[in-house]
Amino acid sequence: MKRRKNWLIGLLICFVAQGAMHRGAVYPTWKKYDMPKTTGIAVGLDPGQLLAAMAGFRELVAGILWVKADSFFDSGNYDAVLPLIRLVTWLDPHQLDVYATGMWHIGYNFTDEESRSDRRYLPAAIALGKEGAKQNPNTYEMFFETGWLWYHKIDDQYERAVGYFEESAKRKDMLQARHNLLANAYQRSGQVDKALELYYKLYDEADTRFADDGVFQARQIRDTIENNLDTLIVRMIQRGYFAQERKDGSFETGPYDVNPPFDVGYSVKLTVEEPKVVRFEGTWNVLPVGTRIRVVLKDANFPHSIAGGADWDWGDEIVMDPDANLTFMQDQFYVKNRRFNKKIDMSRDPTIYPFTSDEYIVEYYYNPRSAAAHMQDKFGFNGEGIADSNFLNTEVRPGQRVIFAQMKLTRDQLLRRGKYRDEVPVVMTKNFKQSSTEVRGSEDMIVVPNLRTIEKKPEAKPKAPVLSKPRANPIAG
C-alpha cells in the first residue's frame, strides 16, 4: 500500500513537472520559432495529405507537393501550379525557394499569345512576396525578391523597390554583389545622393575586405563598385546634378548635357483595325535606338489605377485567381527612325482581355527614370532634359518630368460593334501627322552626348517651349 502511495506521489510530481517544463521552457520556443504563422485549413489538400500534415509531417507533404508542382511546371500546366504554391507555403512557410519561384512564376509566366504578361496576377505575386518576407524575417531573400519584382517587372514607383532593397540590405546574409542594386534603385527613385553615399560605403567595405582577404573575388567586387562609383560621379556632373544642387544658377547657364531640354515631339494614332486588334503609330524625335514607350489599355474603372499603369500592391491577401472581368494590357513601343508602328492583337486571349467594361483608357507613358543610361544622359535623372509641346507632365509622377498622354475608347469601338461595325475607330493626338519612316534633316534630331563627342556637341535648340502641363485636350478623334 505504501509503495503504491509512493508511486502515486511520484506520478503527481512528474505530471506537474512535465506541465511546468512544457509551458515554461518548451512551448515558448516552439511558439517563437516553429509555430505555423498561417492559420486555417488548407483547402486543396486531399484527406491523406491533410492527415499527414496534421500529424506533424507538414514538411514531408510540402516536399511531395512541390515535386508535383515541378512536374506540372515542366508539362506547361501553369494553372495547376498556383494552388500547389499556396499549399506548400502554407505547410512550410520557411521554404524560400517556393516563395521566390512562386513569385516569379505568378509575376512572369502567365502571358498572352504575344508574350505580354497578364499583369492581373501581379497583386498575388506581391502579396506572396510580402508573406514570404514576413514569415522569414531573418534572411534577406524575400525582401530582395519582392524588391526585384517592383524594380524589374513593375518598373515604376521605384520607391517601393528601394524600401524592400533597404530591408534586404539590413540582413547580414545579403550577397555582396546584390547591394549594388540598391544603388541603382536609389537612382531610379530620384535619390541620387543616396546612391552615391551607398557606393562610397560599399567601396570602403569592399576595399577593407580585399585588404583582409586578398582574394580575386574581393578585388573583383571592389573594382566593380569603383567602376560604378566613377560612372555615377561622371553622370552626376554631366547631367548637371551637382549644379542643380548648388542652386546658384549655374545649372541653367552651364553646358550640361540635359540643357536645353529636348522636345521629343510625341504623337500617336490609334486604329482599331479589327475587333480587339489595335494598331498604334506615332512619332518620337529621338534617333538613337533604345526608346521604349509604355502603352496601357485598361478598364476605365480598373482598381488601384494610376497614370501609366496601376498600383499593384493590393494588400496582404493572396488571391491566385484574378478577377475574370478585368482587362489590363501593357506593352511597349520600340522606336526606330523616330517612329513607331505596332499592332497589338488581343483577340486571341479572351480570358486575359475579357472587355466587359463599357469604357477603356489608353495611356502612353515615358518615364526617363526607366530609360536606358544613354537616354538618361540627355533626359537627366528626373527628366530635366526632356520636353514636349503637348505631353510633358509633371503631375502624374511628382518631382519628375514624364511624357504622358491618355485616350478614351468605348467597348463598341474596341469590339467594332454598333456604328463601328463599318466605321474604323481612329483616335489620334492633334499633332499626329502621317508621314514616311525616312529620317528628315538633322536639325530636329537629338544627338545624345557622350564622353567623346561632348566637345563637338552642336547647340541643340528646343523645338517648343517647355511646359509643365499638357495643353488643353491635345487628343483629337
Partner: protein
Amino acid sequence: MKPIMAIAATTVGEAIRRRVLLVILLVGLFFVMAAPGLSVLSARQELTVLKSLVLGVIQLTSAVIAIVLTVYMLPNEIERRTIYTILSKPVLRWQFLVGKYLGAVAALGIMMSLMTVVMLLMFVIQVQVRDFNRLSELVQGPAMFFVQMSLLAAVGIFFSTFVSPLVNFFLTGGIYMMGSLFNPMFETMASNPNMSGFAKNAAWLVNAMLPNFADFNIQNRIINPESVIQNPMVHYMNLTVYGLIYIAVLLIAGILVFDRREV
C-alpha cells in the same frame, strides 16, 4: 536493475525477429534511398525537398514502428502465457514493464540508427554533402525524433496495460495526432477573441496535460537553414528533459495500472 536489463535484452531480440517490423523498416529504408531520384528541381530546392522527404520518411516509419512494437508488447506476453514464467521468478511487475519499455526503445533506437546511417550515406555518396557540420545538423532531426518516438512508445506501453492491441493502435495513433495538432490549435483558440474564458482555460489545461509531440518536430530549421533559432542546444536539452519526464509519467501510470491487473 539486472532483471530489467535481462527483460530489455530479450525484448530487443524479439523485436528484431518480428517480420512486420522488419518489413516496415525495409520500406522506410527503400524510401530513404529512393529519395535522391527526385533530382528534377533546382540545386537548393532539390536539397530542401530531399531533406524534407528523408526526414519525413524516417519520422513516419519510426512512428509506425513505435506503435506496432508497443501495442502488442504486454498483450502478447499475456496471450502466450510467457508472462507467468517471468513473473514467477524474482521479478517485480514494475521491473517487467520498465524492462519491456527499455527493450522497445532500444529496438527502436537500433532501427532509427540504421535509417539515419543510410540517410547520411545517401547524402554523402549521392548528394555529395561532405561538410561535417551540415551532416551533424541533419542528425539533429532523427535525434529529436528518437525522443519523440520514445515518448510515443511510452504512450503505447501505458495503453497496452489495459486495452487490446487494436484499440491501443488507434488510441496511441490518436494521441500522437492530437499531440501533434494541439499546440497550433491551442494557439488559435488563445488568440480568438470570441472564445470564452472557460474554453481558453480548458484548452490551456489540455495543452499542459497532453504529450505535445509537435514540440519535437524540429526538422523545419534543418530543412530550411535560413530559419535560425537562438540557443538550439538548450532547446534540444529542454525538449529531451520534457520528453523524459513525460515518459516517467506514463511509465508510472502504467505500473500503477499493471500492478492491479489480473494476468
